[in-house]
C-alpha cells in the first residue's frame, strides 16, 4: 500500500511541481498521465484490499463505512496534496517579502493568476478523488476536507494571504486615493486583487455574494464561474475602504465649503457620488454599493444639512430651479432632511402669497379680477416649481397645498374688511364677470380657460358654501336680466362645480337654469293662447319668468300698488297659469320686474326701460303733469326712501324737474312738486332708467348674505350632528366634534363655538341628551 502511495506520489509530486511553476504549458499527455496516476491509485488499491462481500448483502445503505480501502487510500493522497500545497504557498510568501505598493500589487496579481490557473488544472487531475472520496467525506459532513481547487485557495489564504493582507490592502487603498485625486490607475490590477479576496471566502459557508448560488461544492460540473463569498472581502478590504472614504470626503467637504458657495458644493457632491457609483461598477463588488453610498451621504450631506437649509430659502427667493432640483435629489438620500425643506417651502409660499395679495389689496376690494389673478400667478409659479425641481414629491405637494389654503383663506384682503369670507365672495364675483355679457366678450375658449383657473383656486377655498351663495345670487340676476354671455359657458361651469363638490351643491343652480328654459316656453304658450282666445291685453306685451320659491334667492318685497293696466295683464296670466298647474300660488316680484314704457309726448317716440315702481310713476303722468311728492306717495303707497330712488334717475336724465330744491333725498320736503319736463331731449331713443344700483345696496347685500349664511350653517351643523349621533348612538364630546368637522369639511370650515351652541340647542330640543354621570358623553334620543 504505502509502496503504491510512494510511487504514485513520486510521479504526482513531479507533475505538480511542473504545473505550478509553469515551466512548460500543460500538455494533454502530461495531464492524462497524472490523471491516470490518481485514478489507478484510487481504484486499484481499493480492489486489492477488498474483503469479499457476500452476494446477499442487498441493502447497502449509503454512507455507511464500507470496508473498502478506498477511503483510507484517498486520505493519504489528500494529505500529501495538502502538504505539497502548503509548502508551495510558503515559498510564494517568502518570495514577495520585499515588494511594496504598486509593485506588490503587480506581483501579487501575477502570482495569484498563475496559482489559480494551475490549481484549476490540478483540480482536473484530481477530479477522480474529488468525485469519490472527497464527495463522500463532504456528504458525511466532515469539516476540513475540501475539493482540490477549494483546498488550494484555502492554502493560499491561510499561509500566504493573511501575512500580506495588510500590505496589499493598503496598496489598493492608496491607488483608490490617487484615483479620487484625479490620477488614473490600473483598474485591472485592483479588480484582479479584489477578485482574489472574493474567491477566498468560498469556504466560509455564509454570506453568498449578490446573485450567486449557495456554495455546495460542485463536482463534475463543467467549469463554471467559481462561487464567491464576501467574508474575506469584507473583513480585509471593505471596512478599511469605507473608513478611508469617510475620512477623505469629510476633509474634502470641509475644505471645499470654506472656499465655495453651497450651490457649487452641491454640484461637487453630485459629481462625487456619481464617481463612486462608477467605481463600484468598475472594480468593486456590488454589495459594497449600499454601504458606500451611505457613507458618502453621511459625510457629504448629513453633516451639512444646516447650511443647506439656509441656502434653500434664498434659492426659493431667486427661483433657482436647477439648484433646487439638485438639492432635492441630494437631500432625498438622507432621511429626515426633506421635512425641514418642506416646511421652509411652505412658509415661503405663504409669505409670497400674502405679499402678492397685499400688493393688490386696494384694488382687490373692488376688482375681483386682480385678486384672483394675483393668486393664480403665485400658484402657477410654485406648482411648476414643485413639478420641476421636486419631482412632484408627495410631501412637497402637500406642503404647497397647505400653504395655498392658508393664504387664500386668510390674507390681507380678507382681514382688512369686516366680512370674514372675502375670498369666496371675490372668487364668485370674478366668475360672474366672466360669465356675464359685457362690452368686450372674450372668445369662448379663453373663458373656458379662465373658468378652469377659477376652479383651481376654488379647490383651496375652505368656505365653499359662501361661494355657492354668492354664485347663486349672481346667477339668478344674470338669468333674470338675461345677462349671460353664453349658455355653454354657464353649463360648463356648472359641470365643473358638480364634479368638484357633488350633486347636492349644484342642484339648486341646475334648477334655476331649467326654470328659465321652462318659463320661456310658458310665455310662448301664453301668447299663443291670448291670440287664440282673443284675450284683450290692452297692447301690453307680457313675458313672465316663473321661479321656484325655495330655489331662487329672491325675497318678496313690497314696492307699490300696480297701475290697473299692468294689474289686468297680471291677473290674466295668473288665471292662465293656475288653470294649468292647480294648487300652485303665484307671487309677483315687482322689484325684479322691468318694463318698457313708450312715450308719445314728444316729437320723438321714446322708449323708457323702467322698473315697476318707475313705470307706476310714469303712468301717473298720463293723468296729470305735476304731482307733489306727498301725492305720489299716497296714491301709490310708496315707502319714502324708495320714492327717492325711483325718481333719482328720472331726475338725472332731465325727464322730470323739481320745483324748489335741486337735489332729491330723504330731507326733501314732501310738498315738493315733481313735474314732467316738456323740453326733454335725449339722443338715444331708448332710455334706460333702471340701472341705478347704489353702493349701500351692495353693502346691504353682503350683510344679508352673511346673516343667511349663519342661519344656513347652523342648520347644516345641526343636521350633521343628528346624523352622526343617530349612527353612533353614544359618543364622547371630542369624538363628536371630530366627526362633525370631518363631514362638513367639504362645504366649509365650521367654528367650534358654533358647533357647541348647536349641540346645546339640540339638547334643548331633545334630540340629544347628556349621559348620566358622564358629562362628556352624549346619547341619541330617538
Amino acid at each position: 500500500m504505502s509502496e503504491n502511495l510512494a510511487n504514485t506520489w513520486a510521479e504526482l509530486g513531479k507533475g505538480l511541481e511542473k504545473i505550478y511553476t509553469n515551466v512548460d504549458p500543460v500538455s494533454t499527455k502530461q495531464y492524462m498521465e497524472l490523471y491516470s496516476h490518481v485514478y489507478n491509485f484510487c481504484t486499484k488499491s481499493h480492489l486489492e484490499d477488498v474483503t469479499p462481500l457476500t452476494r446477499n448483502r442487498r441493502n447497502n445503505q449509503p454512507n455507511v463505512a464500507t470496508p473498502s480501502g478506498a477511503e483510507f487510500v484517498g486520505e493519504d493522497l489528500y494529505k500529501k496534496l495538502v502538504t505539497f500545497l502548503e509548502e508551495y504557498v510558503n515559498e510564494l510568501r517568502a518570495a514577495c517579502h520585499s515588494f511594496r505598493g504598486t509593485e506588490l500589487l503587480e506581483h501579487y496579481n501575477r502570482v495569484w493568476e498563475s496559482f489559480r490557473f494551475s490549481s484549476t488544472a490540478v483540480n482536473g487531475i484530481f477530479s477522480y478523488l474529488n468525485r469519490h472520496w472527497i464527495k463522500r467525506e463532504l456528504d458525511e459532513g466532515k469539516t476540513g476536507i475540501y475539493e482540490v481547487y477549494n483546498l488550494a485557495v484555502r492554502c493560499w489564504q491561510e499561509k500566504f494571504f493573511v501575512h500580506v493582507a495588510d500590505a496589499v490592502t493598503n496598496a489598493v487603498l492608496d491607488l483608490i486615493l490617487n484615483e479620487r485625486n484625479g490620477e488614473s490607475i490600473p483598474t485591472s490590477l485592483v479588480s484582479g486583487v479584489l477578485n482574489s479576496y472574493l474567491e477566498m471566502g468560498i469556504n466560509e459557508h455564509d454570506d453568498p455574494p449578490t446573485g450567486q448560488q449557495v456554495l455546495r461544492p460542485t463536482t463534475n460540473a463543467p467549469t463554471e464561474k467559481r462561487p464567491r463569498a464576501l467574508v474575506v472581502f469584507k473583513t480585509y478590504f471593505e471596512r478599511k475602504f469605507l473608513e478611508q472614504t469617510r475620512l477623505y470626503y469629510s476633509a474634502e467637504a470641509q475644505e471645499f465649503l470654506a472656499q465655495n458657495s453651497v450651490i457649487e458644493y452641491l454640484k461637487k457632491v453630485e459629481e462625487r457620488i456619481k464617481e463612486e457609483r462608477d467605481r463600484v461598477d468598475r472594480y468593486l463588488d456590488t454589495s459594497t454599493l449600499e454601504p458606500l453610498m451611505k457613507a458618502c451621504d453621511d459625510v457629504l450631506i448629513a453633516n451639512y444639512l444646516d447650511r443647506f437649509r439656509g441656502e434653500f430659502d434664498s434659492m426659493l427667493e431667486n427661483n433657482q430651479k436647477d439648484d433646487l432640483a439638485r438639492m432635492f435629489t441630494l437631500c432625498e438620500r438622507v432621511d429626515g432632511c426633506l421635512e425641514v425643506l418642506r416646511s421652509i417651502m411652505e412658509n415661503h409660499i405663504e409669505r409670497k402669497g400674502r405679499a402678492a395679495i397685499s400688493n393688490v389689496t386696494t384694488d382687490a376690494n373692488s376688482d375681483p379680477k386682480t385678486y384672483v389673478n394675483a393668486i393664480l400667478s403665485v400658484h402657477q409659479l410654485f406648482s411648476s416649481l414643485v413639478t420641476y425641481a421636486f419631482k412632484n414629491d408627495h410631501g412637497f405637494v402637500q406642503a404647497m397645498d397647505k400653504a395655498f389654503t392658508s393664504f387664500i383663506n386668510r390674507n390681507n384682503a380678507t382681514d382688512n374688511t369686516k366680512a370674514p369670507s372675502r375670498s369666496p365672495e371675490l372668487l364668485a364675483r370674478y366668475a360672474d364677470l366672466l360669465l356675464r355679457k359685457s362690452a368686450k366678450n372674450p372668445p369662448e375658449n379663453e373663458v373656458e380657460e379662465a373658468l378652469n383657473q377659477v376652479m383651481i383656486v376654488f379647490k383651496y377655498i375652505e368656505d365653499k358654501d359662501v361661494f355657492q351663495k354668492y354664485y347663486s345670487k349672481m346667477l339668478a340676476k344674470r338669468l333674470v336680466h338675461e345677462l349671460s354671455a353664453s349658455e355653454d359657458n354657464e353649463s360648463a361651469m356648472l359641470q365643473k362645480l358638480k364634479q368638484m363638490c357633488g350633486f347636492e351643491y349644484t342642484s339648486k343652480l341646475q334648477r334655476m337654469y331649467t326654470d328659465t328654459t321652462v318659463s320661456k316656453e310658458l310665455t310662448q304658450t301664453f301668447k299663443r293662447e291670448v291670440n287664440e282666445k282673443n284675450i284683450d291685453l290692452h297692447h301690453v306685451d307680457l313675458s313672465v319668468m316663473i321661479l321656484a320659491h325655495g330655489v331662487w334667492p329672491f325675497q318678496y318685497m313690497e314696492t307699490c300698488t300696480i297701475p290697473p293696466i299692468l294689474q289686468n295683464v297680471m291677473d290674466k296670466f295668473s288665471a292662465f297659469y293656475v288653470a294649468r298647474h292647480t294648487g300652485r300660488k303665484l307671487t309677483f316680484l315687482q322689484h325684479m320686474s322691468r318694463g318698457e314704457v313708450t312715450c308719445n309726448a314728444y316729437n320723438r317716440k321714446y322708449g323708457f326701460m323702467a322698473s315697476t315702481a318707475q313705470m307706476a310713476v310714469l303712468l301717473k303722468f298720463n293723468d296729470n303733469l305735476s304731482y307733489s311728492l306727498q301725492e305720489i306717495t299716497d296714491s301709490l303707497e310708496f315707502k319714502n326712501d324708495l320714492l327717492c330712488n325711483v325718481l333719482q334717475t328720472m331726475l338725472k336724465v332731465d325727464l322730470i324737474t323739481l320745483s324748489e330744491t335741486k337735489t332729491l333725498d330723504a330731507n326733501t320736503p314732501m310738498d315738493t312738486v315733481v313735474s314732467l319736463n316738456p323740453n326733454f331731449f335725449s339722443k338715444k331713443l331708448k332710455v334706460d332708467l333702471s340701472k341705478a344700483v347704489t353702493r349701500s345696496e351692495v353693502r346691504k347685500e353682503q350683510v344679508d348674505v352673511q346673516k343667511d349664511l349663519e342661519e344656513d350653517r347652523r342648520m347644516v351643523i345641526q343636521a350633521a350632528i343628528v346624523r352622526v349621533m343617530k349612527m353612533r348612538k353614544k359618543l364622547a364630546h371630542s369624538a363628536l366634534m371630530t366627526e362633525v368637522i370631518k363631514q362638513l369639511s367639504v362645504r366649509f370650515k365650521p367654528n367650534v363655538k358654533v358647533i357647541k351652541k348647536c349641540i346645546d340647542t339640540l339638547i334643548e330640543k331633545e334630540y340629544l341628551a347628556r349621559v348620566e354621570g358622564d358629562r362628556d358623553q352624549y346619547e341619541y334620543l330617538s
Partner: protein
Amino acid sequence: MAETTFILQSNDDKTFEVNKKVIAQSLVLSEMMELVTDSETKTIPLTISSILLKPIIDYCNLYQDASEEYVMKDPPPMSLTEKDSEFMKDISNDILEDLTNAANYLNIPRLIDACLLHLRDQMRLNKIKNNQKTINFTYEEQQKLYEKYVTWL
C-alpha cells in the same frame, strides 16, 4: 459546430478522430481541454485499449447532438432507454466490466449509468441461472464497485 477535431489515441496506438461534442461528454476530457493552452496539441493519449475505446466513441457519437447535458440524478433512472439498450446489445459481457471502468475513468455519466443498468439487468438474469461461476465471479467484483457507487441496489 465544432470543426475542431481531436485525436484520441488508445494504448495500443490506434487513433480515432472525434469532434468537440464527443469530447464534451467526457467530463475529464472537457475539463482538460479548457486548461491545455497549447492549441496545437489535439492528440490525447489514453490508457484505454482500442477495444473499449471504439464502443465508447460510438456511444458518444450517438449522443453528440443531445440538447441537454446528462446529469447524474438521485435516484438514478430505473431502466435503459431504447437507444441505450440497442447499443448494449452489441456489447459482449466480457468487455462490459472494462467498459464500465473506462466510462468511469473518462467520467461519461450517461455511459456509466447505461452500463450499470445493463449490468444490473444481466445480473438479474444470472441470479436466475445461477450456475456460471466465471461470470458470477466477474460480477461479484462488479457488485462491489457497484454497491459502492450505486446506492439503489
